[in-house]
């Protein structure tokens, strides 16, 4: 069973054994719009390990989004290669890409992106349906996931009836639908107030610690930096700096 959790019982980062789950080699992205050429990424080499919690930072226009699209198998690089779980993304067919997005990666968006006409439970079970899970099994697992994010009693609510924090929690449950190894979060707390942001971060941290899910998180949130394993800064389409948290803790302390 390919979509069985490969990382769920995996020892966390600190336990020593770690494996590269995402690797990019000389990743470049060039956008050609008319005569104008934009170098969104100018050759990024990065390795992300299983069970790691990594924060990605960078100003807008830095190539952060492009980087996210590449390592999330949503776009293909102009040059260089991206490996997810040692699979070269460029080699995959459309169907295999869909399979990969469905089961290997969970996406969490800044604006939640729940399907408006579906209930919370339907939102969570949709990726399972795509993955071929039977409706009964999907419902059962969907309820478990909603329970995990603390929304079991609100399974029948539509996104419009929920607060931002609740919507984002449903989105997290949805991202976990097929037990992905990787969670790709694009500023998950940007649209939330401080308290609800905290709740989301707690859930993410729990997932990372207890389930060993690799979390890659674009953020400007300083609280996030406090809980991640590594921090990564992108500027002008290149990695400016990658550092372990303990290396930057001093600076963070000085900021706060």
């Amino acid at each position: 069973m390919s979509h069985q959790p490969s990382t769920i019982d995996h020892p966390p980062f600190a336990a020593g054994e770690r494996r590269v789950i995402i690797r990019s080699v000389g990743m470049k992205k060039i956008y050609q719009r008319g005569a104008e050429t934009t170098h969104a990424l100018r050759g990024v080499d990065v390795e992300i390990y299983t069970g790691e919690f990594i924060s990605v930072m960078g100003p807008s226009g830095s190539g952060k989004s492009t980087f996210f699209n590449m390592i999330g198998a949503l776009d293909s690089p102009s040059e260089g290669r991206v490996f997810i779980d040692e699979v070269d993304v460029a080699q995959l067919t459309a169907e295999e890409l869909a399979f990969l997005r469905c089961r290997k990666i969970g996406y969490i968006f800044q604006s939640y992106n729940l399907i408006q006409y579906m209930t919370a439970l339907e939102n969570v079970t949709t990726p399972m349906a795509f993955g071929g899970v039977t409706p009964d099994e999907a419902r059962k697992r969907g309820m478990e996931l909603l329970d995990l994010v603390g929304l079991k009693t609100r399974w029948f609510h539509r996104p419009i009836e929920m607060s931002g924090g609740q919507q984002q929690r449903v989105a997290i449950a949805r991202a976990l639908a097929n037990n992905p190894s990787i969670l790709l979060c694009d500023e998950p707390t940007a649209n939330l107030d401080h308290k609800t942001g905290d709740e989301i971060l707690t859930i993410l941290q729990k997932l990372n610690r207890e389930r060993g899910v690799t979390i890659i998180c674009a953020t400007h949130d300083h609280r996030m930096m406090n809980m991640c394993d590594r921090l990564m800064w992108i500027r002008d389409g290149a990695i400016e700096r990658i550092a372990r948290r303990d290396e930057v803790e001093v600076q963070l302390a000085s900021i706060e």
Binding site: S65, L92, E95, C102
Partner: protein, 489 residues
Amino acid sequence: MKTIDVQPQPLLGFARTLRIALSGVKYRLFRALVTVAVITVAMAFLMNILAESLIKMTVAATAKDQIAEMRLVDRWIARLSIPPTTAEIIASAARAGEPAELENLRTLGQLDDTELARLQELAAAADTYLTFFNDLNYGRRRVLVGSAESTAIFDRLQDPATRETFFARLAEMKTVRFVTETDTFDAWLNDWPVLRAYTERIREGQAAAIRTVQDNLNGRTLMQSLRAAEGPFGEVIRDAGFNLSPAEAEHLSAKVGAVADTALIEAAMNQADIRQAIAARLDILPGDVTPSRLWSLLGDREHAAWYIGVMNEKGFAASGWQPDDVIALADSRARAQLLKQAERATMETGGGLMGIGQRMTWLAFVSMLVCAVGIANAMLMSVTERFREIATLKCLGALDGFIMTVFLIEASILGLVGGIAGTVMGLVIALLRMLGLFRGLLLESIPLAALVSASLLSIVIGVLLAAISAVYPSLRAARLAPMEAMRIE
């Protein structure tokens, strides 16, 4: 290194896809209703013209025979008054649908079997040639046969030099296709004097017969005499050489009687006293008394009895009339009016799809096209509006095929709903309109099977139209990059 366990993603089952498409439609109900309205209007238009045309065609077929019977009197009056033209004789010989008519030609022209067969054969050819020359535009006909018209063309072409010029010019006209081989026409033209001689004989025979009949009128009008067509005057007609069977004679005399009685009743109405009496009974001004008002009054037994009394009183020969006779006259007059109206209304049916005519077919096609553009636009808007939703679904593992199917299903549902609504609407409007136009005649000749197939056709067209219009929008949706989901508005 980990073994590659990535597999192709399976396509979601149709039932699930349908459910997702349906909930999408439900969520955007208002938008969907607007699109449905566009389809409804277009399909109602199509169904309306289809249904009206089908009904008209059936009514026309029903009315045709009855109208022919209704004109029996006119036909006999004409036949007994004026000898026919050559073209008329050719036309009736070429049609030869009714044996009685052919028999008429035989007796009037004193033709034997071989001659009659020859007449038919030559007349049939003449008929096609005449149609050809009639349909030719003026300039071309002028070049080919000068100012000659109808059968005079054939006379003109008897001259060898003229005929040679004719064929030469015909060969030059590249765009004109002659109805037969030119050699056949040439040979037929040589036979034209034979046909002409036959028609002359028939015409002279009929002229003589008309003289005999006219001589036996004994000072009465032809109409008055025809009232006795079942009796001695029928003998006179038969003796003169017309083919009038006893059954037809009886029928004819009854019809003539009805015509005369109708005329008498309407004549009585025009008398000042009677008119005032009618006006008083109808509670209207005397000037507003019209034949149709009178006849609708006479449909009632009590009024009919009263009117017979009034007529007798004022010296109109209505003694011995029963109210039922008058009611029957009123009914047959109403029927005749209805048939005439039906004939007028159905004059231009035929041609194109289900008899709606070329022009209407074109119009229907254009309206379908406009509708298709409307649906495509609505679907494109729907796709644009749902960019993020589509991209998110793709992030969750949806295949292009799934997205495409969702949008095609959505459009088909709208097409189905709009198609059914439009078809029902168009059909109801058509039935009501036709009921107003043909009244009782409609109920006698409702083309049920044809209407059912037209309805099915229009529903299918509605669904196909919507589905086809949605192909491009669906393709756009399917091709959308999943990274659009990351975009923040």
